[in-house]
Symmetry: C5
Subunit: 331 residues, 5 copies
């Protein structure tokens, strides 16, 4: 596990009329900035300083078990309802320097008092996309409640999977070509890694189906019924991701079968041809061996045309064997 | 992805007494043609011009999320209920030029005011079949409501799967023959492709089971109870398609097993025979080698009948080995 | 698909007191024979003449979708409730001339007015068994309603599966022996065929579980509660057939494993022994080759006992190698 | 199927105060012995005489379908509720002479009038265990109702599975050792047999989960609520048996993998070493062959030290090849 | 099975104000120590003396079936509700001397009168962790009811799985390296053992999901609603353990595939190169054999440059073959 980044606090307030955004040095400063009438979005980047997070949790009335879930970034995606807030934990995919996918936890608390507090392990472009939408006076986000902000976060998180699946689709196409290339030594290991990444995505996405259903069914929460079609839309995306993952797994299985079959075919062909060469020459060598024996009384040796006859016989034997092999379709 | 075709708009009106059909140049022209008393079917072919589709959606009160689903042709089949319409998205199978199946999205909106708006990626013969039924004064379609028109579209879409499954059945029979032919190099790749097509069909059909149940259970919608046996009929077809797909997969697995077993048997036979030839000649070559040694004192070399005796011994050894191999059923 | 047989119509009437049975030339003649007070059983053999069947369906008030299901003999088993009748479609197994199982559709309509109309693709001995029971004055069938006649048809149909499973049990036992016989070239193909037949039986039987439950749960139909223990008995049989099929599949998998292991063991043994023969003789041949060289100055060649010593050394080398192989348990 | 034993009838009566037990020659004699106030247990051993069983069934008001189930010893375990009794059919495991497990049917009818009638294919020690408990004045069995007697029979039957699973556990441990022994020719067949026995146990136990739940849920039957913890205890045992069976199957799969890997490793090692021996000697033999050629003008042959130099070169080539093999870790 | 340790009894009492802890020599002494107002925790280590346990069970009103479950340490985890207590049986993982995981049963009875009686097979550090929390005046445990003590026991037990899974994660990483090392003879067996341990953990954890749900749903028991978030937290852990186990199994499958592919690749490479060496030299040896024949009339033998020409031809043949092999990418 990479170490978590330094804690940075920012707060954004908006309502249909206007918006503002500020960086805060301390939790106290942060809390002073809260938006009394409109929607307040507190964004926390970096989970390295438990003291700050503890203070924040206490001031905002977040349950210790929730804080524990925010800090434990290795857990399953989940949604939990508390007395005055709903807690979401999800995985977002970004890229490591070596181009392998990295899963980071995005968690956020949606409070009944129109506040959303989000927690990220590292600074993520997700943040900027939402800020841009807030800055746009005509965006739907500005006109809707805090539940729509939560929806935007979920939607962008789920979209990150499509991104990674696209990239994987390309590498699977590459695997199809590599499957026929017997000199590709890392084929098997790369394929297993891709399989593992698929599994990770599946694990990250699978619980979301149920989680979103749970939010849709929630009554008397800050999530209004108006949001339902949007949540169902995310659920559709989740189903599609799961299907794509399954499809890719099947594709990989098929590629593996093709690869194994190609390798074994190639090996069989090599061994067959090599063995055939030996098989043709071994009887001929035997004949040569016979006439290399030193018996005194070997009358054939004395005949004038014995040698060319012998060579012709050898040639005939060789041709005969090749013919037989051809007939049996061994060659 | 192939590019989507140019947008073409057509509108058809019918009631038990008569029918009419027109091409429209623009959305405004199209809307002018609507049928006040009977049933109106608006058919949109080609999704390449979002502006036209947007205008259409707005005039007909179609939700932006629905329009998004219509344009996103890569998604899962689904049915969604909105306030005054039901939205269907399905996959229809047509054929690419290289004879591989191609999946296109057919989506349609069934409105409570007796209007059905259908959207196709490319012109599809489906359209003509329904037009013919509308033109037939005695057809059931003319006497029934807009829900029956929706049923006809679903039914024809599902029928396209039987079509492709029939063709696949033939290629599977071919695979059975090809499984025994070791020189068929594309066997494995073709088989994997067929498997993939089966999976695609399954993915396209699987959600329909639930979707149709959902329509049957819908209350207070434009789908009357009278349609239920027809919808159940489609569901029966869907189940049969799923079963056929599963059956074909199992057949392919079996063919693969036969193929692997045949290949490995053949290879084993070749190697066995070749190795046996070597095994018979190597000891004989050794004997020839012994009597080819140049020791001064090798009394056998001097005997008159040594050479023929030696040849006979070699022959006996060879026969003995062949006998042993036969006895052990190695030959 | 074999072609369907010519249409033959027969009608049988019975009540606790008596019975009668007649062949009819036409639908009109048939309808004239109906039994007003007791139970009427109309049996239709052969589905080749749609006109006759259409006339029959119309006179007996059978829905067009039902008639379609009767004619489409390739579909899944099903039970459907209509306003005044229940429709059953099942598969019965008979034997092709080459001893492979053939699945034919048996469908029947149980009407509320004590009439059962059955449809068979070809004449089937099933028919005679039931006729015999009707002819027997003491049979339970004579004393019960039309629902018991339907039960008898279902029961006999399901019994046909036991029949075929028995035969399969024998061929599976044969497979166990054949698994050890490497010269059996059709083993793999025969085994796959048997597997396919098992799958067919499963597909034919699987939907019956639910179908019979559906009939048991039906209320206000011609199926009285008195029949429930008998229907549950069929359900028990169905479960047992499914279990037997699963068991046989597992047996076949096991036999396949044994076969693969036996073949590979045998091949390995052959190759090992053959390779060992070569390995023993190649070094010896090398020694013979050395003393077959024509260098002028090879003092050993001149020693009197060089030759026998050389032979003894060769023997010792051969024995030594055999000993090593034995010790390493390679031989 | 082994033939069923001769019919033997015995009857036992008990209540908290006392007990008695008698053998009966005929059904009439048997019925005369029934216990008016306490609990009557009629035990029937051997199902070979249908006449006797028919008479018994009729006198005790047992349904013909139940009697059929008692006689059909090949069916699935089941529980059925009738008007005045509950019918149980289970499998008990005993041992064949060749130490393979044999499944026999134990069926019993628990009547509302405090009578239990049990049917066994062959005399089974189960019987004696229960008789001993009845003979013990302080046993719980004596103080409880007829439902507790049924519980005892079920409990002892289920216990017979633990017995057989214990024995199997031992043979699985043996398999672990045998997996490494390449000379064990019956390994594969024995392992498949053990797998089959596991499957049989699973099939015999699986339906019991549901059956016992069914008995627990029964209302107004002779099974009192007081028995529930005991029935749940059996259910726990059943779950444990299923888990053990699954575990053993996984163990066997793992052993099979180890076996295949060991066999293939060993074979590969043998072939590698043998092929290496050939590979070292073949070039040497070629050199010897070169100097065995009879060209007139081969100046090397005349040099005095040519022979020893040639031998040394051969040795160096051999050592060089061995070195290369060692370096490549092939040896 | 290791033998169970000697019975040791200890009793701890606590309430928000204070706590005490004592070892007891006998059950009578133990009972004298019970805490009238606060919470009493009786801990029993070692199950070797049934008499003591019987006496304890009787004095504390524990059902005989519960005591049986406590003594039968081989059973599945379970939770059972009795009239005045709830019984828990779980598995805790400790380590054998050879570093393999060992599963021990931890069972405890939570009585409505604020008493928890726990039973361990062997002394376990679990005990000390809880004692420390009791000794801490500010711990949540001291302020909560007996249900929280039960929660602490469950939590610590489940935590022991994370511990073992961490260790396994390490050994799986090792397997990844070992998969490429063909000389690792115990690879397969070690991998199977790790797989078995994963299965054991799964079996130990799987029932907990349902068990904890059962406790959460319990009404009117000593488990207050306040505990629900804590129990859900354990459930989350259980889900995560199950996911980790599944993930590890998939990883192992992938490693096995890589291993098999690496081994087979390596073997194929060796055999290919070795066979190629033979294939190159066998035709050359044949040529040498030809000119080693002793025919009188072999004119080539007399030519002055025959020998060097012959050597050059041999060299060209060898080079030609190598070239062909290179071109065909066999080398």
């Amino acid at each position: 596990m990479e170490q978590s980044a330094e804690v940075k606090l920012s707060v954004t307030g908006y309502d249909p009329i206007g918006y503002w955004s500020r960086e805060a040095e301390s939790v106290n400063e942060l809390l002073a900035y809260r938006n009394p009438s409109g929607i307040t979005w507190i964004n926390v980047t970096g989970l390295s300083d438990p003291a700050v997070l503890n203070q924040l949790a206490e001031s905002l009335n977040i349950h210790p078990l929730t804080l524990e879930d925010i800090l434990l970034t290795e857990q399953r995606p989940k949604v939990e309802e508390f007395d005055d807030y709903i807690f979401f934990a999800m995985k977002i995919i970004t890229w490591n320097d070596d181009d392998s996918p990295r899963f980071e936890q995005i968690s956020f608390v949606v409070k009944d008092d129109n506040t959303l507090i989000s927690f990220q392990e590292h600074p993520n472009p997700l943040y900027n996309v939402i800020l841009k939408k807030i800055a746009n006076d005509n965006s739907k986000l500005r006109k809707m409640g805090v539940d729509f902000l939560a929806y935007e976060m979920m939607d962008l998180t789920v979209d990150s999977y499509f991104n990674v699946l696209d990239r994987m689709g390309n590498s699977i196409e590459e695997f199809e070509l590599r499957a026929m290339d017997e000199s590709d030594k890392s084929f098997m290991i790369d394929l297993q890694k891709t399989k593992q990444s698929l599994m990770q995505i599946r694990r990250a996405v699978w619980p979301l189906r149920e989680n979103i259903s749970f939010v849709i069914r929630l009554e008397g929460s800050c999530f209004s019924d108006e949001l339902d079609p949007f949540l169902k839309d995310i659920q559709d995306h989740v189903l599609q991701i799961i299907e794509t993952v399954e499809n890719n797994r099947e594709l990989l299985e098929g590629i593996l079968d093709v690869n194994l079959s190609a390798l074994s075919n190639r090996m069989n062909n090599i061994m067959r041809v090599l063995t055939m060469v030996s098989t043709i020459f071994i009887p001929l060598t035997f004949i040569a061996g016979v006439y290399g024996m030193n018996f005194d009384n070997m009358p054939e040796l004395r005949y004038e045309y014995a040698y060319p006859i012998c060579l012709v016989v050898m040639l005939l034997i060789a041709l005969g064997m090749i013919l037989i092999f051809k007939k049996k379709k061994w060659l």
